[in-house]
């Protein structure tokens, strides 16, 4: 392969303002984190509510939650993103549509679309984790809580959820990493997150190998750090005398 490697490229001027290429990566990483964290807050909150709904007695609430999961889990993420970005704004009431298309910057409208899209998509997956976490608990725990006089809400709040969330930390970690990786779809609607900045660097500098090597490295280090963080959380909330907990 006849390729001229140049690792110094990241410190060279982009020709746009006074920026060097490294600035682009830093700014891209910032957007990636901003998208993923905001999406994760939506996913965790909505997913927990839906997960609880799926385990409640009765028909209506579980059916609503199940329908949600099937809908969001069975349509490709990219299709969902295009729907949120290109279709949904047209369906909004006119003032809201105008605000979305002209009132805010293109970056902001792309950001909002991708956060909503990733949040709702990941919520379906978090829902399933929460549901399985609750269902993995012995049925007697629910009975014991009710027998003490707890309402259904108190039973979830004080007895079922604290245990369920501990059980599902490992699969939840996986979803947490996924939302960071999935945030790269934002590059397809023009949000200048990490992948978009990488492509831009490759096009401007022609140093495509260096650009993608750095991007790979950043994603890798980012996700390893998140895994480390989640392992720390898991250790912190470990119950003495329980699986893997110290005696």
């Amino acid at each position: 392969m006849n390729y001229h490697w140049d690792w110094g490229i990241f410190f060279k001027s982009t020709g746009v303002g006074s920026e060097i290429y490294l600035n682009w990566f830093v700014s891209g990483l910032g957007w990636t984190i901003a998208v993923a964290l905001a999406g994760w807050i939506i996913a965790l909150a909505l997913g927990s509510v839906l997960g609880v709904m799926r385990t409640l007695p009765g028909k209506l609430l579980p059916t609503i939650a199940t329908t949600y999961v099937e809908l969001f889990r069975n349509v490709p993420l990219l299709v969902q993103l295009f729907i949120w970005y290109f279709l949904v704004p047209d369906l909004l009431p006119t003032p809201l549509e105008m605000w979305f298309k002209q009132g805010i910057s293109p970056a902001t409208s792309a950001y909002l679309s991708v956060v909503v899209c990733l949040g709702l998509f990941t919520a379906a997956r978090v829902c399933e984790q929460v549901r399985t976490g609750i269902q993995a608990l012995p049925r007697g725990q629910n009975n014991a809580a009710l027998a003490m006089g707890f309402s259904t809400a108190q039973t979830y709040r004080f007895v079922l959820l604290p245990q369920a969330f501990r059980i599902i930390i490992p699969p939840l970690t996986s979803e947490f990493l996924n939302i960071f990786k999935n945030s790269s779809v934002a590059s397809l609607i023009g949000l200048m997150e990490l992948l978009a900045q990488t492509k831009q660097t490759a096009e401007f500098s022609a140093n495509i190998f260096e650009a993608f090597t750095l991007a790979t490295l950043i994603y890798f280090v980012l996700n390893m750090s998140l895994m480390g963080f989640m392992a720390w959380v898991e250790k912190r909330v470990r119950i003495p005398g329980m699986m893997g907990g110290s005696k």
Partner: protein, 247 residues
């Protein structure tokens, strides 16, 4: 003596399968009633109906003047006044022993943390486990956990206690420590309904013995009559007793 728990003509079905057939009995204030019978005879189901952990389709159960099956009944309130002890203890594994004893006092009865803690410790001392207050359930033996579970139920100042096979999941060595606590409780005049196979306990402590088979109450008589006048018992009860008492 007035009836604390009265069970009138209760029947229950799982789909087409009838698990309880016209059960009628009662427990008077201060009375200790032992419910025995072969596996699958409906003993546990019946006792769970008393505090509405299991719904029933026919008949009525009245606890301290309140109809359990009435949709208008405030079930959490009713349950908070009836203590229940389970086969598998069902302590809350994510909470320390102190917290297990205090949580329902605080969240259901509205007692202050200090008051609840103090009451919990007093009861823990009574079941001989004060030194374990800071531990978690997973760090205690089965017998110790069950004693904590009894203390936890007593902390709510119950008007009656329900025991659902409290010693069935215990190592033989630990059965007595739990039965001792129950015996002491009975001697203090607690109203108790106990599903158990411990015939020694029944003989020593119970006032009445109920024998169930195939979802129906076959025998419901005085302790002395049940164990003493064996020839007056039904064929099925004689069979059961001969098997259970020969060792």
């Amino acid at each position: 003596m007035s009836a604390m728990i009265s069970i009138n003509n209760v029947s229950k079905w799982y789909g087409d399968f009838q698990v309880l057939t016209d059960c009628t009995t009662g427990v008077k204030k201060g009375e200790v009633v032992v419910v025995c019978g072969p596996s699958g005879s409906g003993k546990s189901t019946l006792i769970k109906c008393v505090n509405a952990l299991e719904p029933f389709q026919k008949g009525e159960i009245i606890v301290d003047g309140i109809a359990v099956g009435d949709p208008k009944t405030d079930l959490p309130k009713l349950r908070s006044r009836v203590g229940m002890v389970f086969q598998h203890f069902e302590l809350f594994p994510h909470l320390s022993i102190t917290e297990n004893l205090a949580i329902a006092q605080v969240k259901v009865l509205g007692r202050s943390q200090d008051e609840a803690r103090e009451k919990g410790l007093k009861l823990l001392d009574r079941v001989g486990l004060k030194a374990h207050a800071h531990k978690f359930p997973g760090q205690l033996s089965g017998g110790q956990q069950q004693r904590v579970a009894i203390a936890r139920a007593l902390a709510m100042d119950p008007i009656a206690m329900l025991f659902d096979e409290p010693t069935s999941a215990l190592d033989p060595e630990m059965i007595n420590e739990v039965l001792d606590v129950m015996t002491e409780l009975a001697q203090e005049g607690m109203t108790m309904m106990c599903v158990t196979h411990e015939m020694g306990f029944a003989r020593r402590v119970a006032h009445r013995v109920i024998f169930m088979d195939k979802g129906a109450i076959v025998e419901d008589c005085d302790k002395d009559a049940f164990f003493g006048d064996i020839n007056a018992r039904s064929e099925r009860a004689r069979q059961f007793l001969s098997k259970i008492l020969q060792h």
